[in-house]
Amino acid sequence: MAIEVRIPTILRTHTGGNKTVEGSGATLGALVDDIDTQHPGIKGRLVTDEGKLHRFVNVYVNDEDVRFTGSLDTAVKDGDSVTILPAVAGG
């Protein structure tokens, strides 16, 4: 078992074009670190130098926005589904 991470089109240059990657970690931050070792550079696109999620990046664990659940400290576990999306306009 692992945690599946869905990658938006715009970040697939880091994943060899793959739409999903797998990783592990107890928190979202640890999961991002793990994915970055497999796909170098992706962390820099998601997380700022200050260690916060980039303003225009939304991350969802099992469809819930992590900014309301602890951001990069959000707990994750095997079998969870993580979705990364750029912030776009609705309405």
Binding site: P8, T9, I10, R45, H54, R55, F56, V57, N58, Y60, D63, E64, D65, R67, F68, T69, T83, L85, P86, A87, V88, A89, G90, G91
Partner: protein, 316 residues
């Protein structure tokens, strides 16, 4: 009182109806605020009328003026109706991947449509409209994403209506687009009934819509204040469509697809309340009826066929 001097004056005062079949228990109940009962059939009438009247009041909008707005449809339809009543010209910038009914309605109301590319969705429509506004300083862009009158319409109308009809409300669930509904209702509820949880349901479209060239082209509406939300869920087309069909099959409510996304989030909240053994009265927004989306094919055939038909469409 159900008599009005004009269609515009009949705005708001929409019914709040219970969902006896979809509510999980008699202690955890769902309530639908039927915003399709507004003058042009969507919740956007509230923001559109409020923005026009605010611009008239502050003198930005004068007789014969041209109004410009980026919109994926409902706001444009609402604005087009009011603009024609009051003698304004309306130009809508709309992504090309929106349903044909929306285009036909806009044209019927006399609006001019400028199409923006499908890739990039509403982001592109906003960018195109901002460019046009800069080229035509005499046009009035109401700009629903940043116009305080949008959220204010829900602070003044939607919020008080809900609290009056259901003083025992525990949760409010609505769609996140311009964020106007959630911001206005949340601000009202936090002042008048603190403790009500406010939950956003955000439509998750097909990949085409997220086709930005780089992350820095991302967009967050100026109205958005995350402090006014308790949680936010992303709902994909499969779940949204499943719930849209459940709503018509089990409760008789024929709603648009964004409403299915909101219902999905509301049912998720309801499950948690049942599991926690709490009582809950969960209000969610029915944004519009399903009529304008029939041509997408979403309502015909199996769920899989319907969901496939929505791929690449701006369905909310």
């Amino acid at each position: 009182m159900a008599r009005f001097n004009s269609l515009v004056e009949s705005l708001g005062g929409t019914p709040l109806v219970g969902l006896p079949s979809l509510s999980p228990t008699s202690d955890v109940r769902l309530w639908a605020k039927l915003e399709d009962h507004n003058p042009t059939g969507s919740i956007k009438d509230r923001a559109a009328i409020a923005m026009i009247e605010a611009a008239e009041k502050d003198g930005r909008l004068r007789p014969g003026a041209t109004v410009l707005e980026p919109t994926s449809g409902n706001t444009g339809i609402s604005l087009a109706m009011v603009a024609r009543q009051r003698g304004y010209k309306l130009i809508c910038v709309m992504p090309e991947n929106t349903s044909v009914e929306r285009r036909q309605l806009l044209e019927l109301y006399g609006a001019q449509i400028i199409s923006s590319p499908a890739a990039g969705g509403s982001n592109e429509a906003v960018a195109v409209a901002k460019g046009l506004a800069a080229e035509h300083p005499d046009w009035v862009m109401l700009y629903q994403y940043g116009n305080p009158a949008n959220a204010q319409a829900h602070y003044d109308g939607t919020g008080p209506e809900i609290l009056t009809d259901l003083p025992t409300i525990t949760h409010f669930v609505a769609g996140l687009g311009t964020t106007g509904t959630l911001m206005g209702v949340s601000r009202y509820l936090r002042e008048h009934k603190p403790g009500v949880q406010v939950i956003a349901a955000e439509p998750r479209y097909g990949e085409l819509v997220y086709g930005l060239r780089n992350i820095d082209e991302g967009f967050i509406p100026e109205l958005y204040d995350p402090e006014l939300l308790d949680s936010r869920f992303s709902v994909g087309p499969d779940d949204a469509l499943h719930r849209t069909r459940q709503l018509v099959e089990r409760e008789g409510i024929f709603a648009g697809i964004s409403t299915g996304a909101i219902l999905h989030a509301a049912l998720g909240v309801a499950d948690k309340e049942v599991a926690a053994g709490r009582k809950a009265d969960i209000v969610f927004i029915v944004c519009d009826g399903g009529w304008k989306y029939l041509s997408t094919g979403a309502y015909a055939g199996s769920l899989e066929e319907g969901a496939a038909a929505l791929d690449g469409q701006l369905w909310a």
